[in-house]
Symmetry: C2
Subunit: 352 residues, 2 copies
Amino acid sequence: MKLNIALLAGDGIGPEVIDQAVKVSNAVAKKFGHEISWTPALTGAAAIDAVGEPYPDETHAICENADAVLFGAIGHPKYDNDPSAKVRPEQGLLKMRKKLGLFANVRPTFTFPSLINKSPLKRERIEGTDLVFLRELTGGIYFGEKGRRENGEVAYDNCVYSREEVTRLAKKGFEMAMSRSKKLCCVDKANVLETSRLWRETVQAMEKDYPEVTVSYEFVDAVAMRLVQWPNSYDVLITENLFGDILTDEASVISGSMGLMPSASLGEKTSLFEPIHGSYPQAAGKDIANPLATILSAAMMFEDAFGLKEEAEAIRAVVNRSLEEGYVTEDLSEGAKSYKTSEVGDWLASKI
Amino acid sequence: MKLNIALLAGDGIGPEVIDQAVKVSNAVAKKFGHEISWTPALTGAAAIDAVGEPYPDETHAICENADAVLFGAIGHPKYDNDPSAKVRPEQGLLKMRKKLGLFANVRPTFTFPSLINKSPLKRERIEGTDLVFLRELTGGIYFGEKGRRENGEVAYDNCVYSREEVTRLAKKGFEMAMSRSKKLCCVDKANVLETSRLWRETVQAMEKDYPEVTVSYEFVDAVAMRLVQWPNSYDVLITENLFGDILTDEASVISGSMGLMPSASLGEKTSLFEPIHGSYPQAAGKDIANPLATILSAAMMFEDAFGLKEEAEAIRAVVNRSLEEGYVTEDLSEGAKSYKTSEVGDWLASKI
Ligand SMILES: CC(C)[C@H](C(=O)O)[C@@H](O)C(=O)O
Ligand SMILES: CC(C)[C@H](C(=O)O)[C@@H](O)C(=O)O
């Protein structure tokens, strides 16, 4: 199979972790007889520095024509804490999501037995947790009309959803529930928001098409609590953009494996795969960043973008092996010998 | 001093826990030579059943004329999971907040040494946590224009904030920071939302009036993470209505003492005090509900509504004693002998 992949390394540790994912992907491709064509493109602060904007048209053209996009991380301290700056890396991210139609952000939270002691939660609370959020990513208050009136004294943000947008996301949720434990939780604030009532009634109407799926409806504040109390009571959760932003980040820290969590953003034309961690500028260029989340994102890419499940499993197997054998970067080594980012990448590629 | 208090017992376990708070408050009043006049009024499902709406005008008149409102809980299963029902108890809550101008919801999260083992977090993560959220309660997306268009196929909710609303809430935040550790965190989503940018610029402009307070600005998704990771790194946090709804609930479960957490909603005319737990309908009428959160809410009332700090401390002291001596309801007794709701109230009143 010929795999046409856009490569957006981005900022900070992005380029280093992406390098390792490329090594491992190439090794898998070789083993299974695929041919990958990688097309690098600029994004984030790196793109602002080079061409004055975070998601250049050329990058968009490359992504649009690719079968999948592998993404590192964006964000640079010089743009931090200045939300009023004219050009910000985040704008590139939002523009990219919108223009590529990446409407469904898939964010799993699962545990690795060897990392469970890193969780802030007690072992009995977190053990066995294996949940996945589907966050709507191209609508809601992120993209509604926003602005000021009354000489800047009043600000507003509009949250808008259409039944079609909800249906599209919920469909992915039902399908994912069918492929897992057949439990779906719709997270909303239907006791207060009209958009949430639309979400709830739309999902309720879809229940009859998936008679095997048990659907629950929970308010966002209740989910924020239960995620800390009984995370393993959840399986598939669907929610709107802003609730998803908050809850997926909350979920990411409960497992102790945050540095390993991959994600996918599924679209109509193409899909994007990226680690959930940020650009971690303090570590940039030091060859110490943990590449496993990016490598596991590449595994998701093989499975979800190309339907290559065996290839994905091959990657996951070597990642598990590196954890078991302690061939890991310093953040995971617990005082034992640790390895460089590039060494971990080489080792994993050689074990494929 | 003459204390004129409206008493809104509400639904479920509300009446039972309110009864105990009244006993303890009366005991304190007697000891310190105050005279309390309690005026009961209907609210919640109880009010819907009696007069067809959850916050009747008569109740509003009673609250408006009171120096403080002591509130139990509202919510009844027959109104649950039916967000489209014509009359819902929550509407009464929102109407009450708006009509009484209760703009600042004060939600502390602290730990009791004897309860720390109930926390889902590891001891070293939660020990020493003592933070307080100030949640804006009468603005934002809760009260903006909302509705449907295109034959109901599109729903919208508007989030609106004025500089004045932000200033009013932030002022309380700065004052509270001054009376505590002089650390204030402004929680927003200024990388995406215009209302958040107004929040941030307003708070930034106020910094010069409180030179002793160190202010940090964090995104809501980052706070959702750090609350689970390092809750004791926070002190006073200010935020808008919806973020506050989610984060205060998340914060409430981390300490292990959720069943004991009081809250206040401060307004221009009057203030309201209530436990953060819900109406817990399954326990209603059984004399088993834990009354301590309501009793600690009464302590907040003595201190914040009437400036009676000694009286508040007297209540807190007996509550601590009941925890130490194990004179508690079954949810806290850890298999040891437990006491009825009314017995705990009687005991506390007798020890004042
Ligand atoms: C950087 C920011 C705009 C973005 C978001 O809010 O969506 C980030 O928090 C995320 O979750 O990917
Ligand atoms: C019941 C609901 C409307 C309410 C809110 O969202 O404000 C509740 O969750 C709260 O936090 O008091």
